[in-house]
Symmetry: D2
């Protein structure tokens, strides 16, 4: 089952698991529909080999997804879910999901259910794995979009602001910003003040470029928002309405007098054809998850370490998010301005 | 000079004109900076052959652009501009611009200035030419983005709304929507009511898809906005704040109960590497404009007709915009729902 | 039915025809498999609405294709084919094919069969239509590939030769070469001598670039091949073995002493996701072909003229290929060297 | 200096080093032209900040490259090169190169020269680092091309063979083949017999697909070539003329009777815009190399380990290539057929 927000590579995980399991062990697979909803309701589709043909390059998930919680409602909890699995002769449940889903999976595994996990977050903010699939695609799409913004900024002598995904962690902004040569990158982990931003922008502008600012959606302006209340910043340094990118653009324009435009990349970052990197990573994770199930590695998930796929306890991915360390940000910030 | 909003292909026009003029006639070229501002202030750069090397594939314009009007201010008007051209021994001025710039160019040409035009509008809404460069790139980028939205919509059983460029004409929405297989396309020329939109969306949803709606930024909801005032529609059927795409998304969600998300493509549609189609069209227009100048075709512009580049009076592009004919829209609307 | 070499946009034609026919007229559609083979053998699949869902962006053809001739063999000819159509209650046959298939279609229509045509050639060499679908995608893929070759050529101070499709007509080479800024474009219609090529290449090299040569597969070296027999050219100016691009590269290297490399783009030009331009054109052609069938426009095909789709007799596309006129080539050749 | 074959990301390394060095330490940079040739001849260009503006996304190398050896000829060897560096007040030399260049760099460093290295190989076959920049771009381009081949193969019921780079190591074939869902991947490290290949292909064909075979250029047919001598295989299992992909295609066609076509991707794999992944990796390596120079880490190179950039002795990358382990290949081979 696939759970939570969709992510490029989900179908490659499914294909890797199904092909690997069938060819190595003669397994049979079913796919529960729409995440935990399908598990709870026993709603599934058969997954013979033909159903995973050519799906690695498709975005989204052929199984559908939802944000349903495995513990809520009358059908929630280990007893009912265990019954569903047994009724349908499911020997192992593979949960492809983010922190919430893996937490649920962990609780169910602790309650004795035969569950293995595959970590999924487009934001790359799960611990226990070097990278998660989908992240590379999001960074690539973001970089291509920002490359496009740059030519417009330079032609019009404007500041271009791009808001990218990243509610709690700034990995997408950090990587796409580095790749596109941004003059400022603003992430949730490191508050920057309006003065910082204005300095970076003005410096780049004075060298004759159209400055480029990349902002993660979860960025918080590092000072009381009162000074910019009239531009839509609230007291906590967050936007009162709409996205933080728009507010940052307004502040830059008011402070520097340079025309400033914001583009919010939105959902185009998470859909569509995955990069080759994500397809390879996802396929390997899927194959490894099928092996984990055969080894009865309940309560574990498959993860990337260096160039290897290995297993770690589900708990390794829980409790705290993998955010951008200050040192890593400062390394990049050298390039600003 | 390049004037108005930037557009993929501007640099290919410049290169085509410069290489064509140099190789056929031994011409010398200068480029005025930032549109009419540079013309009025006599601010230009020399354009020897080396400066246009490899620029066809660059977005934006190496000359910079602005929205300055050639008639405004103390440096405006034919007398001063004529003096600038003579002072710098400029025998012909090539104006690459949209309706406003070409109108100014036409007035100046009527006043006796040696001016030829190249039509430019990313929205494809200029009369006198089959297509304008930049449009194909905008449609391509829009289509790729909407392809990405589609997989997310289908995985989450959501309606996805994409807002694309097109303030007065719906060509980008029409073409990108057709290419991406949208279930509804909403354009400025043809008001659709909330009932229409909801029917199209619901029908597509009931057939098991994630419905896809493409909205041009200039779309007007075809009924009094009062009914949806609480969702941000004003009395004229326009958004009170933000973009029309967001408002359409809110109306769909309220009326159908299906989760609906909007992405506004924004500036990524107009920057970056032009498609091959636009590079070829722009190169041909640039070469033809250099010939037009040699023929003293003042007051004319170069244009595409079928597979040929020919000349038409600048006035052919003025007075009214080329909008989507109702018959053309209805042809496409057959595919909706 | 789809016949001959595959071409990006075939599926969009099918979808346009099926959706248009169903929604406007309540038609039913079947698709014959693998071109004329399926027609002759009565081998087809039903095409209800769901089967064409989302296929516009898929390369290839869901119906399969072949190079079978409708007149050959015991199952060939109008009588048997007419019987197949009647047996399966097919009221109209839509032939999507190139010159050979359309010639067969024309003969069958003249024999009284209810046939309409859709012109298909990735080389854009059919008369009777401004452009054919698939051509834009081939040019776009070729241009992107040549853009990539260019950076390698410049870094290594090498000449890069790219061989593109075009057996009889040089349209792809002409457009991709213009778009990528080639220093020489060699096409079947216009013989160039080794001296010409060497001059163009040397001139570009001396200005400090990595020269870029685009060669159509059908190019013929315009002099007796004897002088370059040791490099693989035959007496007719064609390669004795392999492609003409390789031979041109060898000649350039021997004559200029500059390291020269050839890449033959091959099949990557004809497969995969169509451009938005091709999807729109193909969808419009498909819809118009369904209308043509309803109007009983037997023996006609749908075609692009300017911005309109109209109908012309199938014979308009036969008898001679649409090759690159000398004047059009010379216009572009101004940019060489 | 950049040395050896060009590789997407070279310019990002240069930019990372220059910006990092200038902003952290106020360094000055020069770039030697065309690899060791420029070093030996003292031929260089100044690299003030403006020269690296926006170059991360450009393929190739702004410095040019060559395959010149630092030890050959009258200008070779440590004494002369040391003199060049001193004459031009170069305190540290950063060598961005492959195994050959790094071996030269190591020898020079052992002779006392102030040299740091950055590992470069598009084939990903250098030891001492998890991945090298350029590899991801080559895999991505290869995957996109193979995706395109697939639709043609399926429409024509043909076998499509793609030959990709990889003379000694099959990493590109392995990753692009996995990403594109190949039915056979043939690499230099693991000989496969014609029987193996034919079985994999036939099995895929029988399941109704157009089989897809990815071959690295260095693949060796695992049996005496005599049996296929008439198809161009030599006794060592290598092609007598041209590429191994063509020979494999001929063998498949003869043995299975299925039409088979080969496309050799060639130089398009190494040029052009780098992926975001490669730009980020290359930028980080460049910045780290500037730091290494400041720390006097002579004889060391910067490398990727997991998510970190660290330093290893140059010797770690020498002596043996990093080839695909048999276990890794067998893991993937499960998916074949």
């Amino acid at each position: 089952m696939t759970s939570g927000g969709d992510c490029p590579g989900l179908n490659a995980v499914i294909r890797g698991a199904v092909l690997g399991g069938i060819k190595r062990h003669g397994d049979e697979f079913v796919g529960f529909r729409d995440g935990w909803r399908g598990v709870k309701e026993g709603d599934f589709m058969n997954l013979p080999r033909g159903t995973v043909r050519g799906i690695s390059k498709q975005g989204g998930t052929i199984l559908g997804t939802s944000r349903v919680n495995p513990y809520e409602g009358p059908l929630g909890g280990p007893e009912h879910i265990s019954k569903v699995l047994k009724d349908h002769k499911v020997d192992a449940l593979m949960v492809i999901g983010g922190e919430g889903s893996l937490a649920g999976a962990n609780r169910l595994a602790e309650a004795g259910l035969p569950i293995v996990g595959v970590p999924k977050t487009i934001d790359n903010d799960l611990n226990g794995t070097d990278y998660t699939f989908g992240f590379d695609t999001a960074v690539q799409i973001g970089t291509e979009a920002i490359d496009r913004l740059r030519t417009t900024g330079e032609s019009h002598h404007r500041v271009m602001v791009a808001e990218v995904m990243g509610r709690h962690a700034g990995w997408i902004a950090l990587h796409a910003g580095m790749a596109a040569g941004a003059h400022a990158i603003l992430i949730p982990e490191v508050p920057a003040s309006a003065d910082d931003v204005v300095n970076w922008v003005q410096e780049a502008y004075d060298r004759g470029r159209g400055p480029l600012v990349v902002v993660a959606e979860g960025f918080v302006m590092g000072e009381t928002g009162e000074a910019y209340s009239h531009l839509g910043l609230d007291e906590a340094g967050r936007p009162r309405l709409g996205g933080i990118g728009e507010v940052v653009a307004r502040i830059i324009q008011e402070r520097t007098g340079i025309e400033t435009r914001c583009t919010t990349l939105g959902y185009i970052q998470r859909g569509g054809v995955p990069t080759a990197y994500d397809r390879v990573l996802a396929t390997r994770l899927g194959m490894a998850a099928a092996e984990a199930a055969h080894d009865g590695a309940w309560g574990e998930m498959v993860a990337l370490e260096g160039t290897n796929i290995h297993r770690v306890p589900l708990s390794a991915a829980l409790h705290s998010l993998k955010t951008v360390p200050k040192s890593r940000y400062e390394e990049v910030a050298v390039l600003f301005g």
